[in-house]
């Protein structure tokens, strides 16, 4: 299902690494001197208290913010300044903390829009919408239908997404990101505001995506149960600094993490 792009990286090798990345907005330091890496085919969690710089981290990874200092290497290549659309071309997809779907379009069209990069028929074929353009459209529709089936959203295909309940919107958004066949999938709080059952469903989808397609996933999540169950490795941020990094068990026992979450007696 997934077409590999660029040079092939074996599972377990480093897919993306950040070295000494610092990001500041004026005097506010969002990230200072953060280094960590994401390995191919793992689920990497980024956690930390509110305002720790988690979302800024994702924004740096997909090119929405440019860090002032530090080096980012993606797929073995050091990355210069990069716009978000270039990051997308490179194979980075993402979902948002607050659902950022195209509200006026149907679920199907939203996911089809995720295929925009993969569709190449030019303007004049689009005007005709017959022959090659239609063939391409149907080809991609087939792929999108696979995603729709995978996420169990067949019944809402033609529904305008603005009218869907929140849990389903999150699922459509995941589908839209999957339609890009990403090498690296960034999930910004995929379970925020969900009830237990929806969280269980979503966790299952995240694991399945990782299992079936081998997609590397970096996720931000506040529900510690979810984080500890899903992720292979966890990085903990606090006030823009990395305070811990390792397997869930290591991180759970780390004194600095406990202090950051529970506070320290003075």
């Amino acid at each position: 299902m997934r077409a590999p792009s660029g040079q092939e990286i074996a599972a377990g090798d480093v897919l993306l690494s950040l070295e000494n990345v610092s990001l500041a907005f004026g005097g506010v330091k969002a990230l200072s001197d953060v280094s960590f890496d994401i390995r191919k085919s793992e689920i990497r969690a980024i956690i930390g208290p509110n305002g720790a710089g988690k979302t800024s981290m994702l924004n740096v990874i997909n090119g929405f913010y440019q860090p002032q200092l530090g080096r980012i290497t993606f797929k073995g290549k050091a990355r210069a300044k990069m716009r978000p659309d270039e990051a997308a071309r490179g194979g980075i997809a993402r979902t948002f903390q607050n659902v950022a779907l195209f509200k006026g379009m149907s679920a199907l069209d939203n996911i089809m829009a995720g295929r925009s990069l993969k569709m190449h028929r030019g303007f004049f074929w689009q005007l005709l919408r017959h022959g090659p353009a239609m063939k391409e459209e149907v080809e991609h529709r087939l792929f999108v239908e696979e995603i729709i089936e995978f996420l169990h959203i067949q019944h809402i295909r033609k529904v305008q997404v603005g009218r869907l309940p929140y849990g389903l919107q999150k699922r459509v958004e995941l589908g839209r990101a999957l339609a890009m066949e990403p090498d690296l999938l960034l999930l910004d709080e995929p379970m925020a505001g969900m009830n237990l059952e929806e969280k269980e469903d979503m966790s299952r989808f995240v694991l399945d995506v990782n299992d079936h397609f081998g997609t590397t996933i970096a996720l931000i999540e506040h529900d510690m149960g979810v984080v500890m169950d899903l992720s292979d490795r966890v990085v903990v941020l606090d006030y823009g600094r990395k305070i811990a990094d390792g397997t869930p068990d290591v991180v759970k026992a780390d004194q600095a993490v406990i202090d950051a979450y529970l506070g320290v007696a003075h």
């Binding site: 978000p84 659309d85 997809a93 993402r94 779907l101 195209f102 509200k103 829009a113 005007l127 459209e137």
Partner: protein, 358 residues
Amino acid sequence: MFYREAGQFKTTYESDQSVFPIRQDRIGLAIILVVAFVVVPLFGSSFLVNAVLIPFLVFSLAAIGLNLLTGYTGLLSLGSGAFMGVGAYACYKLTTYFPGVNILVWIVCSGFFSALVGVFFGLPSMRIKGFYLAVATLAAQFFLEWCFLRIPWLYNNNISGAIEVPTRTLFGLIITGPNAAPQTRYLIVLTIVTLMTLAASNLMHGRIGRMWMAVRDMDIAAELMGIRLLPTKLTAFAVSSFYCGVAGAMLVFLWYGGAEPNVFSIDQSFLILFMIIVGGLGSLLGSFLGAALIFILPIILRTVPAQFGLPIHAATVEHLTFMIVGALIIFFLIVEPHGLARLWQIAKQKLRVWPFPY
């Protein structure tokens, strides 16, 4: 009950992706096309064809043009009147320099000039959107209007400052100029508008349409999906201006027969904006419905009381028309802010489930 797709199974994705997946829609559209192409030219009066249908179609096309930009891509423009003007003046100059080439070629080609100008004035959309972009397009409106008025070359140094449409033929049939039959002009306008509507519909149902709507609904998410914002927005400006330009050329060459710069004033821009707001943003059908309401309603208000022999003074009728149309616009905006197109959708849904409420 009357409008139910029960029993119509789609067995291929191709048929599911089609523009009119429901059979009743296809039948309805076929009937409208037959009436428009056959019945009207044969039986329609000159008044109906010349004063009602030709301008209705021309304005519909301009409304589609603006709708592609404002309704589908979410970029508010107040320059559509001026872009129509660019089309009209381009067509005029082209047919002056190359009288041998068929006028229909120039009517369509004038759209490209308009598209070029549209792209130029669309450049600010890289940085600004919403009301601020509207103000930037307003600058286009005033600048171009000034050009139409002050550059004599554009109107061939006429003393009157107006452009006059020369007589041109197609296969020996006079299609423009004072001696062209309304029916001929109507058929030409209808053909162009039908083909261009089809093209717009195809575009909106494919990749480019989805990219435009993605930019409209959530530009940040669109960008993070690899859609480059500026080229996408500029394409929208180009296509939209192309449609407006062709509409402008048809307005002058196939309806008015001549025009002064004030035809393409800010009023025209607002009129077209009203059409798409009342008709429905982001809907091709809405463009037609909006054009019908804004343009045809005043005509009905003017002619119907006269039929009943009501002795109202012409000026009073004019004032009444303004008041009634204005009141209707406000009424529609309050009752259905998504326009007539949404009303039609609701009606379809009601027809579908009738006689049951759900």
